[in-house]
């Protein structure tokens, strides 16, 4: 049996979910005897490959780049997993939503800045109107709530998915966990 192909992507989140992923410690060895990590912020690959079995998505969809990335990831992934509260609910990135993009940029780049106050418009991707949970943009197959989900939760979910089982999330984690 060929090894399954796992990927992780990082949209608008704090990277805490990826830290929790690394927190699996020696269980990572066990995990990657059954699977290969084919793309991730944790490995040095530039292009998201075709034919990925399981992709964990950290973060909300907040910018034009996130939007583009998640659509491509969805096309190339069999099982898309919303990984952590930002991906599942919008969480902290969504706290800007009631105020609108302009008010947030004003606050962050003009009002609170003394040296060269300016809103960045080049290189960094433009924010979209609202930070959205991933499943409001593309179809999501599995949801792992938690801020961040514990290493044990991630390990059990991935073990289930690698064995073609659907994990029971209620037993493992919750919003804000």
């Amino acid at each position: 049996m060929s090894k399954k192909r796992i990927a992780t992507v990082w949209l608008d989140g704090c990277s805490g979910c990826h830290m929790s992923f690394l927190d699996m410690d020696e269980r990572l060895v066990e995990l990657f005897q059954q699977a290969d990590l084919v793309y991730s912020p944790l490995v040095d690959l530039k292009e998201f490959p075709e034919g990925v079995d399981i992709t964990l998505v950290e973060g909300a969809v907040s910018s034009e780049e996130d939007l583009h990335k998640i659509q491509m990831v969805r096309e190339r992934t069999k099982i898309l997993v919303s990984f952590g509260d930002c991906a599942v609910t919008g969480n902290v990135p969504s706290m800007r939503n009631p105020f609108g993009v302009n008010a947030v940029l004003q606050r962050a780049y003009l009002e609170n800045v003394t040296l060269h106050p300016q809103v960045p418009r080049e290189v960094v991707p433009a924010l979209i109107e609202k930070a959205r949970p991933v499943h409001e943009v593309v179809k999501v197959d599995v949801f792992i709530p938690g801020c961040p989900p514990s290493a044990q939760t991630i390990f059990l979910v991935l073990s289930d998915l690698l064995a073609d089982r659907m994990p029971d999330m209620a037993m493992l984690t919750r919003f804000g966990a």
């Binding site: 509260d85 609910t89 919008g90 969480n91 409001e136 999501v140 209620a170 919750r174 804000g176």
Partner: protein, 239 residues
Amino acid sequence: MNQPVRVKTLKIDDRDVSGREDETILEIARQNGIFIPTLCNLQGLTPIGACRLCLVEIKGVSRLLPACVTRVEEGMEVYTQSERLQKYRRMVLELLFSERNHICSVCVVNGHCELQSMAQVLGMTHVSVPYRFPRLPVDASHERFVVDHNRCILCTRCVRVCDEIEGAHTWDVMGRGIDSRVITDLNQAWGESETCTSCGKCVNVCPTGALFEKGKPVSERLKKRQFLPYLTMMREERR
């Protein structure tokens, strides 16, 4: 007074149970260890059937009925755990989560919130309707307490405890539908309320982080509810 107590026998989830005629399906279920989820209900306060989490199926009745305000009847056959009910309960939770800004990870009651734990218990892992992200105020004008409308689910426990137990009726509900909001006095700042006795009962019955006490770390923001059944019991004895 002193009328003979009538006992009704009925079935809940195919189990034979019995209760006094003035008791509700929810009370009888709880006495028999049958779990029916609730959010607006709180022992010691008048049940109002607002949150709809306790909806149950009754054989021969086409509508779903809230267990907290439905009295037991002879020969009733109640079902509390059907797939349809579980689907509706999760939907109720999803609507509550989508209606305001419930950001569990940064909430003052993260880890001891009834809405949060209910989502886990009922297996609600995500909200399938679009979030509304409304812009809502936080009133911190009171010396000791804060009301954060972002976290309010309009269960009206605060309104009821203030009226029925404390007797102050500082809290009430303003507006209709999606614009409904709990208010103090005539929609005045809580800190300027003339009726509020600062007893803190509303804070302790609030199921979420909508009402909380200032200057306490999150780990100490456990809500204390033991006083409620005790107060009501004392009152009933005196009557």
